[in-house]
Subunit: 294 residues, 2 copies
């Protein structure tokens, strides 16, 4: 990780988390529900999605406070998806980021409802961003709904479950990841462009960057499942291979997956060349994603 | 049911259901996910919530097509909440409206995801109502998020689960229902007022009407669980008493619950007197809710 990225994260992480937690703490809701929502929000994670919203705003020298709100919305969506994914009827995971999963602590019913509430809240907080023009709020809500719903993340999750029972080919596997993890990452980057009134060309270039970063992110995830330890990952390593899951290394060998990762990294950087601004932070971010070890 | 209500329903029900189904059919998502979403949307139900959106628009002689879209959004939220409520970890219901519940047909994982996707889609379709000004769309999204999330329906569901382990008192029981079922009914009515540019006074009166109708609706639900047959209800009757659930009849006796129902019906009608328009349709609706037998 470069010093600039380290500094960028150190500067913004506390503000991201502060915004995220306050947006839940201030709602009037049963205490055990708020506790369950906050438990998973506070369970850590790299906050890559909110950091991307901020990094894109940074590119346009856009310092507006609402970038943190949009970042909180996308982190809520990400967190709800993890809570539901971990349920016994889905991935049946007991541990996440080194801690017991939500349903282990709060029970399945409350975990399901905490996920539902985070999903719903993310749209509410976007709707309430008073300093953002209504048409921009509507655009962000529309993009988030597409990215996180049946046409994006949830659809990808369905395809992923489907892929557990048979070996997917490479286009099918890409399709899963473009939806399951890519769509939300794309929203993180595109929302920064919307908030910053980026031109159509700039936005298209950033969306292409997002596309390749999303795939690179997932390939690195698959690689880490093989090469990293459970301790480094905060979850059980080697689970993909045991469960016969369709992964990039399974389809392409570990070496082939690493090569694919480099290709997407390269295309992501290339897309940034079309933005006539100082894109060095986003380039360093791409490198951080590709070379992360957890 | 009066002839006018019958006619109003006969006129609008096909359009409501057509809008509801097309909004799902047109999305690009895995077929099994769309099937699961459509299965529960098509499982029937009285469509009371969309009918309320339309009845309020009718009051203002507002014929805009988007009332059906808002109605579809609220019916999606209602349907997702039923899918999740029926899950084994929640109410564990095998039958709903005389048909096997979603998870019985599609499995728990897909049922959870279909619910998630409907929740998310409802916000997307509100955001995409091109003929409604952005500021109105934002207002509707904000209201729906509050009504359906931790501060409304989901919060009420948490309180309801809590109430299964102990006897609630009357204010606690009211609080459950104001959130669990009342908030969404209120949204149905308030959204019609927003779409129709109602004055503040009109809107406040309609919200008060909604408050009492919501409680009346729930009390009648509790009463029907005792006096109606399973066949009439399309679900297991007498379940509340068997599960020792906190209900109005359990707290107030059956007679006391019927009296409470009449009180709320009366207050609902009274609130409508403050709207200087022909509120007869909404009055007849209140009567229909209170005297329905399923």
């Amino acid at each position: 990780m470069t010093n600039r990225i380290k500094e960028f994260i150190a500067d913004n992480l506390p503000k991201i988390e502060n915004e995220l937690y306050s947006l839940v703490q201030c709602i009037k809701a049963p205490e055990q529900l708020k506790e369950s929502m906050l438990y998973s929000l506070k369970a850590g994670g790299k906050r890559i999605r909110p950091l991307f919203v901020l990094a894109v705003c940074d590119l346009f020298q856009n310092k507006q406070q609402e970038a943190f709100t949009v970042g909180a919305a996308v982190e809520m969506i990400h967190t709800y998806s993890l809570i539901h994914d971990d349920l016994p009827s889905m991935d049946n995971d007991d541990m996440r980021r080194g801690k017991p999963t939500n349903h282990i602590v709060f029970g399945e019913a409350l975990a399901t409802l905490a996920g539902d509430a985070l999903n719903t809240l993310s749209f509410g907080i976007l709707a309430r961003m008073e300093n953002v023009p209504s048409n921009q709020r509507v655009e962000l809500i529309n993009l988030l709904s597409i990215a996180s719903g049946a046409e994006g993340m949830v659809g990808g999750q369905v395809l992923d479950i489907d892929g557990e029972s048979r070996q997917l080919n490479l286009p099918e596997l890409e399709h899963v990841h473009i939806n399951k993890t890519g769509a939300i990452l794309r929203f993180s980057i595109e929302s920064g462009a919307v908030l910053s009134n980026a031109s159509e060309e700039e936005r298209a270039a950033l969306v292409e960057y997002a596309h390749h970063i999303g795939l690179a992110f997932q390939i690195q995830d698959d690689i880490l499942d093989i090469v990293a330890t459970s301790e480094e990952l905060g979850k059980t390593a080697g689970k993909d291979e045991k469960s016969n899951k369709s992964t990039y290394p399974a389809l392409l060998t570990l070496e082939g997956a690493k090569q694919k990762l480099e290709e997407h990294y390269h295309f992501a950087i290339e897309a940034l060349e079309r933005v006539e601004k100082d894109t060095s932070l986003l380039k360093e971010f791409a490198q951080y994603i590709v070379h992360r070890n957890n």
